[in-house]
């Protein structure tokens, strides 16, 4: 890790699935990039039009697939591009946090942040803070272990020879 403050000694790199709304937090994330802010590259960004689109099952699926944390980013209350999708997200979030806790997942692994389009610095700080928390918590081990992608629904995908490129195995 480039930032010594957030680097873990054991080399554990938490993976965070970040659900960002298109209008505020995704744009803030673009801004952080354009401004060349430095933050831990541990997020995996999934863009939604609105944080109100966040089905709580997306969060559970992310944990189930091996995410160590889930970060949800939406517009500030009152600023939602769709009027109040973010407050609906907040309602779901409050319930979901308790559910996640009951499932044995530390509630700190789930985080909701209101980050407006101009708050690239807040995006950076929230990401770094979450990565620091997850380093402290360590990896999330859910049983059974996340399944690799070669599952029934993708079995019929036969990767064709792709020119000169060697085909890498998924679990490499």
């Amino acid at each position: 890790m480039s930032d010594p403050d957030i680097a873990g000694p054991d080399g554990f790199e938490p993976r965070i699935v970040a659900f960002f709304c298109n209008w505020c937090t995704y744009t803030a994330s673009d801004l952080a990039g354009t401004a060349r802010m430095r933050y831990a590259p541990n997020t995996r960004v999934v863009r939604l039009m609105c944080s109100g689109r966040l089905d709580p099952q997306f969060v559970l699926a992310a944990f189930r697939q091996g995410a160590d944390g889930v970060l949800i980013g939406g517009c500030h209350p009152g600023d939602c591009h769709y009027q109040e999708g973010n407050t609906k997200c907040l309602r779901r979030f409050e319930l979901l946090r308790r559910l996640v806790d009951q499932m044995g997942i530390e509630p700190e692994r789930l985080r909701l942040e209101w980050i407006s389009a101009s708050e690239g610095d807040k995006l950076r700080d929230a990401t770094n803070a979450m990565v620091a928390t997850l380093r402290r918590l360590g990896p999330l081990h859910l049983e059974p272990v996340p399944t690799p992608p070669a599952k029934s629904k993708t079995e019929h995908f036969v990767p064709e020879p792709a020119g000169t490129y060697p085909v890498m195995l998924a679990d490499e």
Partner: protein
């Protein structure tokens, strides 16, 4: 979850973006990785995918390899998604079977750790590949655009935009909060660097607005509510009560002469409070419309109901004065909106050491503009509050600007405005002028030449910040006050003291106090300092995140008159391009209901912010009106039966993306 119905053929393209991406991420290796993913037929990396040859390569591959889906790993989709959709469409692939993996803004630009960057880029590409396999072929929907535009704000920006559109034959409704249009420019005396008289160039435009058959001018009015969406906005405007009927008034002003108050007693806001007005007044002589307004806080009749109402007699049979007039709401539909709400001048009271508000002869730049103006409180004479002519005058730059305690940005106009004021004050009074600046910023046509001219004219330039201002009585003439100004001269490296009669503070341009309210009204964003945020600082400088809402003038950031006029023209052109076509294509990311799964529980109906969902009572299922749906997906997330779905953001696509970003690294 369902699998794609047929085998997919995905092409993955990794952009180097010169060294922007390739400098951090091993693009070759990333393409190798992409080639290994299910459904990927080929993966390539290229220097600049957004270039013509880059797009041509994608088009050729689609034709040669029969690709039906494309993943582009490059910059943000907010930048070039449309570019690659177009390229795919040109080669016969549905534009919505293109997915962007953002590996520049979200990866390459935010870390120096190449290993971690590669891991993240790999995850984002895998997510995009897994997702795009589930993309469906979609058609853009289009909506009719009302050929009418709302322009909010009647300063020079709003005036220019409204006139341009009106001349192109579009109907415009111009809404202004104040009793007259003209904005800040109407307050100025001369404009830099040419020293054109502001009124001479502005008032013809103001009159043109009033006279233009395509412009409806609503002054003393505020936009109350905006509903609907691009192409079809419904607007409610609150018309404040002037108590003078605009349609009956001819602007003869006899009512003002006849007012029971024989002398003006109330501070006129237009003159920065330096002049007085009567309870019934016209803010300035060239006001448009030239219709007086009655101040309910000052008018005896409106306050007590016991006035002789001499104004009423003066108006006689015209009957334009209406003490019973109440504010009312006016509603209309427009296709697009231009926001040109301007700025406000920084209040220097908060910087206590300048002494503004405590010492009588410390002025803001706007106050001095009014003093210089022939139609202003002193009829163009620069006089101190005791009526004497100043002999030594200081101008302070960067008051509230370039100061981390107040506004860290540069207000752009103050250097030139200060030079202009120095020139005009010196010309009118023959006073000795001192100009206290931090850096002199004169980038503009004829600006540096103007600076040189003012230097030649003998204005003294002192490079340094004003640290303190004190006021004392003149020993010789106790009625006269002297301002002692301490300046840290950074060129001489010593603190210097100046005794002055007058100090002019070149105050910052800051977001209007109502900017936050306006922002919410139109669904826009603000940048950090509170000015409205453009969609893209370079490529879409007059667009906003809200489709059909455009920006002009200082509400977007400090700018001078030439830049404001240019931007207003750009906003008008963008608006025209949108409404002239008659229809606008929308992103097909609307929600829909699978009737076979819907249980008719009505959970979704109250959640929809646009009332786009109703229940078909016969079938007992929910139905989404596609034209009202704006594609937030709130109903989809809430549907307990999984009957609601959102195009481009289906559950399948999102679950695939989640798996994709997690399962390969």
């Amino acid at each position: 979850m369902i699998a794609p119905t047929a085998d997919v053929r995905i092409g993955v393209y990794v952009c180097h973006c010169g060294s922007n991406i390739a400098g951090k991420i091993d693009v070759e290796q990333l393409a190798h990785f992409a080639a290994s993913l299910p459904g990927v037929v080929l993966a390539r990396n290229y220097r600049y995918l957004c270039s013509d040859p880059g797009q041509e390569m994608i088009r050729r591959d689609i034709a040669e390899h029969g690709l039906d889906r494309v993943v582009v790993a490059a910059c943000s989709p907010l930048l070039h998604e449309a570019t690659f959709r177009k390229a795919a469409e040109a080669a016969g692939v549905n534009p919505f079977q293109v997915q962007i993996a953002n590996i520049r803004e979200h990866v390459a630009w935010v870390t120096d750790d190449k290993t971690a960057a590669f891991r993240k880029a790999r995850a984002q590409v895998a997510g995009a590949v897994r997702r795009v396999a589930f993309h469906e072929s979609l058609e853009r929907k289009s909506v009719a655009v009302k050929p009418c535009v709302l322009v909010v704000g009647g300063g020079i920006a709003g005036i220019q935009a409204a006139l341009t559109l009106a001349q192109a034959g579009k109907r415009v409704v111009l809404v202004e909060r104040e009793p007259s249009i003209g904005g800040h420019m109407a307050m100025f005396d001369k404009t830099y660097p040419t020293l054109d008289c502001a009124a001479c160039i502005l008032t013809p435009k103001m009159t043109a607005v009033k006279e233009h058959p395509n412009i409806r001018l609503l002054t003393f009015s505020e936009v109350e509510e905006v509903t609907g969406s691009v192409g079809n906005y419904h607007v409610k405007v609150r018309r404040h009560a002037r108590h003078v009927r605009e349609e009956l008034c001819v602007g003869c002003r006899q009512c003002i002469d006849a007012c029971l108050f024989k002398t003006p007693q109330f501070p006129n806001a237009f003159d920065q409070g330096l002049a007085k007005r009567k309870p019934i007044y016209i803010p300035f002589p060239q006001a448009v419309p030239p219709v007086p307004v009655i101040d309910p806080e000052a008018c005896i009749e409106l306050k007590t109901g016991r006035c002789k109402m001499t104004c009423l007699d003066a108006c006689a049979d015209r009957g334009a004065i209406d003490f019973r007039q109440e504010e009312w709401l006016e509603e209309f539909d427009v296709g697009a909106i231009i926001v040109a709400t301007g700025y406000q001048a920084f209040d220097p009271r908060v910087i206590a050491h300048y002494g503004y508000g405590r010492y009588r002869n410390v002025y803001t730049s706007l106050e001095v503009e009014r003093l210089l103006n022939a139609a202003g409180p002193t009829e163009g004479k620069v006089l101190l509050r005791d009526g004497s002519v100043p002999r030594r005058v200081g101008v302070v730059h960067c008051v509230g600007s370039r100061d981390h305690h107040y506004h860290s940005y540069c207000s752009r106009v103050c250097c030139m405005a200060s030079l202009k004021l120095a020139h005009l004050v010196q010309e009118k009074t023959g006073a000795e002028l001192f100009d206290f600046y931090i850096d002199m910023r004169t980038p503009g046509k004829g600006f540096e030449e103007f600076y040189e001219r003012v230097q030649r004219e003998g204005v003294n330039f002192v490079r340094g910040k004003v640290g303190d201002v004190h006021c004392r009585k003149d020993d010789g003439d106790p009625s006269h006050e002297i301002l002692t100004v301490q300046v840290d001269d950074t060129l001489l490296d010593k603190v210097r003291t100046f005794d002055l009669d007058m100090l002019i503070l070149a105050v910052a341009m800051e977001p209007d106090a109502a900017a936050e309210q306006v922002r919410r009204l139109f669904g826009m964003s603000c940048s950090g300092e509170g000015f409205f945020l453009e969609k893209h600082p370079k490529l879409a400088p007059v667009n906003t995140a809200a489709d059909g809402v455009f920006l002009a003038g200082a509400c977007q950031g400090p700018k001078d008159i030439p830049d404001t006029v240019a931007q207003a023209g750009a906003a008008a052109a963008e608006t025209l391009a949108m409404i002239d076509h008659g229809r606008i294509e929308l992103e097909p990311n609307t929600a829909w209901i699978d009737e076979t799964l819907c249980s008719g529980c009505k959970t979704c109906i109250p959640l929809c912010p646009y009332n786009a969902i109703h229940r078909d009572e016969e079938k007992q299922v929910a139905v989404i009106d596609e034209t009202s749906c704006k594609g937030c997906g709130v109903c989809v997330a809430a549907c307990p039966s999984g009957a609601a779905s959102q195009h481009l953001f289906t559950d399948d696509q999102i679950y695939e993306e989640i798996e994709g970003v997690l399962c390969y690294v």
